[in-house]
């Protein structure tokens, strides 16, 4: 009886089997990595904007408070985007001829709103309330990163559900003093003080992971 295969086939066959197993487990791993990757979450990606607005310049440079433009951030679910008037309140005086700001002036003339490209986009079924986070001592920087170092805005965090949960499960390490909430460079409270804050601020950690906290 003659051989059907060359000796090398033994090795090949075993490699094929191992490869198959690798494919199955590796595939799951890759899918997971992809789901968390900037390509999926849009984190760290800069998007073209109608006006090349620099947070770095306005926040770090001029020291304008977040609330000057995002006025409803302390009370409302929406932080609020500045109406054209807010921009023009300064830029009617300074840089009022700058070609860079032409779209703003045009918006005012034509009474046609500016259209910014959305960076932090939660799914429709996820409800986020800025006010309550501010009130409980979650600093802007926790979710938006060092905006004062962003010449052009980008999304600093993946903002996936698991990312939200990280904090909702253990807020203590991520809180700030009330007066530090809007300060970009302010430090987080040390954990034990954070735990103290949970008490004083009445933050029911064990309830922050209830589904209806974010989904309605």
């Amino acid at each position: 009886m003659a051989q059907l295969f060359r000796p090398s086939v033994n090795t090949i066959a075993r490699l094929v089997i191992l490869g198959g197993l690798g494919l199955v487990f590796g595939g799951v791993g890759l899918a997971y990595l992809f789901a968390g990757s900037p390509y999926q979450t849009g984190a760290t990606l800069i998007r073209e904007q109608p006006v090349a607005f620099s947070h770095q310049h306005h926040v770090a440079g001029l020291g304008i408070d977040c609330r000057y433009c995002h006025s409803s951030v302390e009370t409302s679910a929406a932080a609020g985007m500045p109406p054209t008037y807010t921009c023009m309140s300064c830029h009617s005086q300074v840089w009022n001829q700058a070609p860079m700001l032409a779209p703003v002036r045009q918006s005012l003339e034509e009474n046609k709103p500016l259209e910014w490209n959305k960076l932090h986009q939660l799914p429709d079924y996820a409800y986020f309330h800025h006010g309550i986070h501010i009130q409980k001592g979650v600093g802007c920087v926790e979710c938006h990163g060092r905006v004062d170092q962003m010449p052009l805005m980008w999304k600093a965090e993946p903002q996936t559900m698991s990312w939200c949960l990280d904090c909702h499960r253990h807020p203590e390490g991520r809180l700030r003093k009330p007066e530090d909430v809007f300060k970009m460079d302010s430090p987080r409270l040390p954990v034990e003080e954070g735990l103290e804050l949970l008490k004083t601020h009445n933050i029911p950690v064990d309830r922050l992971t209830n589904c209806s906290v974010c989904h309605r």
Binding site: M1, L4, F5, N10, A13, V28, G29, Y32, A35, G36, Q40, T41, P158, T160, M161, S162, W163, L165
Partner: protein, 476 residues
């Protein structure tokens, strides 16, 4: 130099025959007859015809499923209150059918029932294909099937897990485990036969095709030794598995609080029912198979008789189950359950289904008490068909009737399968038959190695009977 003898297997060895092995068989004859079905026998008209029909049904199935995915679950008859219909009915039905295969190959192996040898191979195949059909339904019945992977504990950016208390989650693990184990068991059993086909095939390509899955099996004594252990252990594992799987399927209902579901008798009588329907299906398949491929010597009337007896016993267990359900409803004095069991089922909107179920599963099986009927192949075949229908009805009764009238009369409703329900159901039958037809053409429908073993065993017995001195070697 070693002169090469032209060694042919002409000399016949190890002769035997018995009521479970007709004719005068030897290693050679069993090998030839079974292997030739695959290697030599041309495609018959009947086979082509049957395959064509099955394949057509399979295509219809694909059409129905596409439509389901595009248009949504609403094309089925399901509604509120009857949230499950054909989907779960068929799921349970198929799973049940699957169980006979495992039972035959595993439990009967452990019980040293040598008559299993000639039917376990395609019984196992039947298991695989039935489970494949069953497994499709839980996927299809979801509102958003493309998210099926949420039922598996996979790493995800939502940091979420499945809900491990849910019977449906039990199902995910039970069914996938069952499918995997059955496949392994079946394949392990196939390895020596693949080697046989490899060595008998003449066409080099076909030789290679069988050689690859044969993994270079060479029948080494040491290999056989480990092989036997592994095979026996698999059988030992599969036995509790098969019981657990249908118990878990029963939990889908018993964990629910719906009157007609919430009853402790389900797990045992579901298992019995599974064996019941499974053996019916084996008979339904084996009878035509053996006559068409001329395997009457291997699947003898004795086999059919045994199967009929199993059907009778399990049929009686199932009947007992029905009676207990009714009795407990009455004895438990639970208004809702009483209404469900004693009023709605026998006299309600679905009474016809219920009475037909009783006729098929309880009345018809009583015929099997009579040897004459058990030995009348045609009658036996018809009865096995009736049982298949009856067991489908049983699941229909459990799923639909229980749901359509539960606690609040205000929310009672009716359910009827739509054309799409039927297309999907017949479609899976098409899938099952297609796979079966391919199987009997491509792989030995009877385990050749185990038949040789049987021949050897019987041969030894003969000798033991003739010779005073015990043989030097005994087989396991």
């Amino acid at each position: 130099m070693a002169q090469v003898h032209s060694t042919h297997g002409h000399e016949d060895n190890g002769h035997a025959s018995s009521e479970i092995l007709g004719g005068h068989q030897s290693y050679t004859t069993v090998t030839d007859t079974i292997a030739d079905v695959v290697l030599k026998r041309p495609l018959g008209k009947a086979w082509l015809f049957g395959f064509a029909i099955s394949f057509a049904l399979l295509m219809m199935f694909l059409f129905a499923v596409t439509n389901l995915l595009v248009r949504g679950i609403g094309i089925w008859g399901v509604n509120i209150p009857v949230g499950w219909g054909f989907d779960i009915v068929n799921f349970v039905w198929w799973i049940g059918i699957g169980h006979a295969g495992t039972l035959i190959s595993a439990i009967l192996l452990l019980l040293k029932q040598d008559w299993r040898t000639s039917i376990n191979r395609f019984a196992e195949a039947m298991t695989l294909f039935a489970v494949a059909c069953a497994g499709l339904y839980p996927l299809m019945h979801m509102g958003r099937p493309w998210l099926f992977y949420w039922l598996m504990p996979l790493p995800n950016t939502m940091a979420l897990w499945p809900q491990f208390r849910s019977p449906l989650e039990f199902d995910v693990f039970a069914v996938s485990t069952y499918a995997t184990v059955s496949l392994l068991f079946w394949y392990v059993g196939l390895i020596p036969d693949l080697a046989t086909l490899r060595d008998r095939a003449t066409n080099p390509l076909i030789k290679k095709l069988y050689a690859i899955p044969a993994l270079g099996w060479r029948g080494s004594a040491i290999h056989w030794h480990r092989y036997r252990t592994a095979y026996l252990l698999l059988a030992g594992i599969a036995t509790p598995l098969v019981v657990s799987v249908h118990t878990i399927v029963a939990l889908d209902f018993t964990i629910g609080i719906i009157p007609g579901w919430h009853t402790t008798v389900f797990p045992p009588y579901f298992v019995a029912g599974a064996i019941f329907s499974g053996f019916a299906m084996v008979a339904t398949l084996a009878i035509p198979l053996r006559s068409y491929f001329g395997l009457k010597d291997y699947i003898t009337d004795k086999h059919l008789d045994n199967m009929a007896k199993v059907m009778l016993v399990t049929g009686l267990i199932v009947t007992y189950g029905y009676m207990i359900e009714g009795f407990m409803a009455w004895y438990g004095a639970n208004t809702y359950e009483r209404y469900q069991m004693l009023v709605d089922r026998p006299t309600g909107a679905y009474k016809h289904d219920w009475w037909l179920l009783i006729l098929c599963n309880c009345v018809m099986t009583q015929l099997l008490w009579f040897k004459s009927i058990r030995n009348n192949i045609i009658l036996l075949w018809l009865i096995s068909l009736v049982i298949n229908v009856g067991m489908w009805l049983e699941r229909y009764v459990i799923v639909v009737i229980s749901l359509h009238s539960d606690f609040l009369p205000s929310s009672w409703g009716m359910y009827h399968g739509t054309v799409w329900d039927y297309m999907t159901f017949y479609g899976t039958i098409g899938l099952f038959m297609t796979l079966m037809f391919l199987f009997v053409r491509i792989l030995p429908a009877i385990s050749i190695a185990e038949m040789r073993e049987l021949v050897h065993e019987l041969h030894e017995r003969d000798e033991a009977r003739t010779q005073a001195t015990p043989p030097a070697a005994r087989t396991v």
